[in-house]
């Protein structure tokens, strides 16, 4: 009996180690494959040349980089005030009543809604009814709705992590609640709030489905927020599906992976700093 328990444990351990290592291997394989196949096509020229468009798939990715940049900036500009307001409300003002419960339920539900449903919504409201047509503006508004729950959750956690002594000190100096919140608590939570913003930047770079049905996907250089455009992810999709230029698609994948690695590194660094700060004081 004792012997068999030991053998079972050994077998189980083996399986569990394999599962753990497999996860790392899958990641390494995906990133390694894309980098090996794509790195050869990445050059300065590739980054600053516009794509030729059409079925050739030749050219670079400059317009897609500009499109990604526009979408990201606009999404953050729209989502930050809304998300921050909601986070401050939930962390500082909300009492435990049905309104708060409803808001929390809303945030939870939104977080689970698939990207393509946001796309349908954006298509109906922004593209069709509000006549923004297929444009960067429609895409960014749709994307802002999509990132809102992530933003609210992350920012709320950050605000809640600020020690109560900060609030007490503010109130003891005869500051009003709002003065305390806006000049003491929110500045203290700033690294966490910036983390929320960067997470949303990451989502803007990754998301494709909701933009595919709202942004139009033009390969031309966008001239305003009302022009159609494409992000890097969308560009990769078009290259893979409509052209034979799989090497260019891989190269776009390399650029995407580098951006994601940078974003991940920055958020990890910021989170560590924030925790150190909150623990230290």
């Amino acid at each position: 009996m004792r012997m068999s328990a030991k053998i079972t444990q050994r077998i189980a351990w083996g399986i569990i180690w394999v599962a753990g290592m497999l996860t790392v291997m899958v990641l390494a394989l995906i990133i390694g494959y894309v980098v090996i196949k794509g790195l050869g096509s990445v050059s300065w020229d590739f980054l600053i040349t516009p794509p030729l468009g059409g079925l050739s798939g030749e050219g670079g990715i400059s317009t897609a980089i500009v499109g990604t940049f526009y979408i990201t900036i606009l999404t953050i500009v729209i989502a930050t005030p809304l998300g921050l307001g909601a986070a401050i409300y939930l962390a500082e003002y909300a009492t435990d009543n049905w309104v708060t419960k409803a808001i929390r339920y809303g945030v939870e539900t939104l977080a689970g809604v698939p990207s393509i449903i946001f796309g349908l919504f954006g298509f109906a409201l922004f593209v069709t009814i509000l006549h923004f047509n297929f444009s960067i503006l429609s895409g960014a508004l749709t994307l802002a709705c999509l990132v809102l729950p992530t933003f609210i959750r992350t920012a709320e956690e950050a605000i809640k992590a600020v020690p109560n002594s900060y609030r007490e000190a503010g109130l003891a100096l005869a500051a009003t609640k709002w003065q305390t919140v806006s000049r003491v608590v929110v500045p203290a939570a700033l690294p966490g709030i910036i983390t929320a913003v960067i997470l949303c930047v990451g989502r803007s770079v990754e998301e494709t489905a909701c933009l595919y049905v709202t942004m139009g996907g033009s390969a031309a250089m966008p001239t305003s927020f009302l022009s159609s455009g494409r992000t890097l992810s969308l560009h990769l999709f078009y290259l893979a599906m409509e052209t034979r230029a799989l090497d260019k698609a891989m190269a776009a994948g390399v650029v995407l992976i580098v951006i994601i690695l940078l974003i991940n590194g920055t958020t990890n660094w910021l989170t560590r700093r924030f925790h150190a700060k909150m623990m230290g004081t």
Binding site: A5, A12, W13, I15, W17, V18, A19, G20, M21, T23, V26, L27, A28, I30, I31, Y33, V34, P81, L84, G85, I88, Y89, I103, G106, E108, T109, L110, G112, V113, P114, I116, I117, G119, L120, F121, A124, C145, L148, P149, T176, W178, S182, E206, E207, T208, A209, V213, S233, L234, L236, A240, M241, A249, M250, G253, L256, I257, I260, I263, N264
Partner: protein, 284 residues
């Protein structure tokens, strides 16, 4: 600053903050409203049952049956979960109980990065690696099986991180109690930890299903987008999400409305799964 303006600021800021918080609720409401309102004309003219159980989708001749897409979505979702649930739970046990400190950090950052990789990159790797491999077995490679393999990797992080969380929440005393009774570490995990963490693990799998059923771009890239009913895993198929994305840009009239109706079905499936996960997590 006068007391009156201080009071004014106070009230004004509280209002604005409250309104932005309400935006979340409003948004859920608006999304449902728009998708439902745009989808109803199609449901009216096609009929709910014909829409849900019709096996032919040919917008050109006015046939709108989405059963093949429902089957397609369910097929890939269940397939992906059959693979990623055991793998993900094993990996969660690895992270929570087995891995040495440094190995754990490496595996955990790998899981974090897997979440961050854009779905189009998964789709691309699926197209150039998985699809040709499946072509060797039979068919043209763009298939349910390719979609299942790609999805398995994509939902793995969800299953791992939520399962690990719930394993970590098992009180230390349970573990110590079992070990003190002379159980091996594996017996402790199998007979004590897993049963206690069960509701969280079930929630992890259900949330993974939600992710799988909502995935769009990677599915379009590897599943072949056929409108026919899939039979064998080597057949091409189409998911509900893919149906919407592939056709919405050029659809109009009743066809467009039918795509919104597809969205309603998808929305209901997701809300159902999320509520299930919510209930599972609330279990003691």
């Amino acid at each position: 600053m006068s007391i009156i303006s201080r009071r004014f600021n106070e009230v004004l800021s509280r209002r604005m903050i409250f309104i932005s918080a309400l935006a979340a609720i409003l948004l859920v409401f608006l999304i449902s409203l728009f998708v439902i309102q745009q989808g109803i004309p199609a449901l009216r003219s096609i009929g709910v049952l014909d829409f849900l159980f019709g096996t032919v989708w040919r917008p050109g001749i006015g046939e709108f049956g989405i059963l093949p897409m429902i089957i397609g979505s369910v097929y890939v979702t269940i397939g992906a979960l059959l693979l990623s649930a055991p793998l993900g739970i094993a990996c969660a046990i690895f992270l929570a109980e087995v891995a040495p400190y440094h190995v754990r950090n490496v595996v955990r950052s790998a899981v974090e990065l897997l979440v961050g990789i854009p779905s189009v990159v998964y789709g691309l790797v699926g197209m150039v690696v998985v699809v040709p491999l499946i072509r060797e077995i039979g068919g043209n490679g763009y298939s349910v099986l390719a979609a299942i393999i790609v999805l398995t990797v994509m939902v793995l992080p969800t299953v791992i991180s939520i399962s690990e969380d719930s394993l970590r929440r098992v009180p230390m005393a349970y573990r110590e109690g079992a070990l003190a009774l002379g159980a091996t570490k594996w017996q402790t995990i199998w007979h004590v930890m897993l049963p206690v963490a069960r509701s969280g693990i079930v929630a992890a799998v259900i949330l993974g299903m939600g992710r799988a059923i909502g995935e769009t771009m990677a599915m379009i890239m590897v599943i072949g987008n056929s409108i026919l009913m899939p039979g064998s895993p080597l057949d091409p198929a189409r998911t509900l999400t893919g149906n919407i994305a592939v056709e919405i840009n050029y659809a109009s009239g009743i066809h467009e409305s039918a795509l919104f109706a597809t969205g309603i079905v998808l929305f209901l499936l997701i809300i159902g799964l999320n509520s299930l996960a919510f209930v599972a997590r609330r279990q003691p």
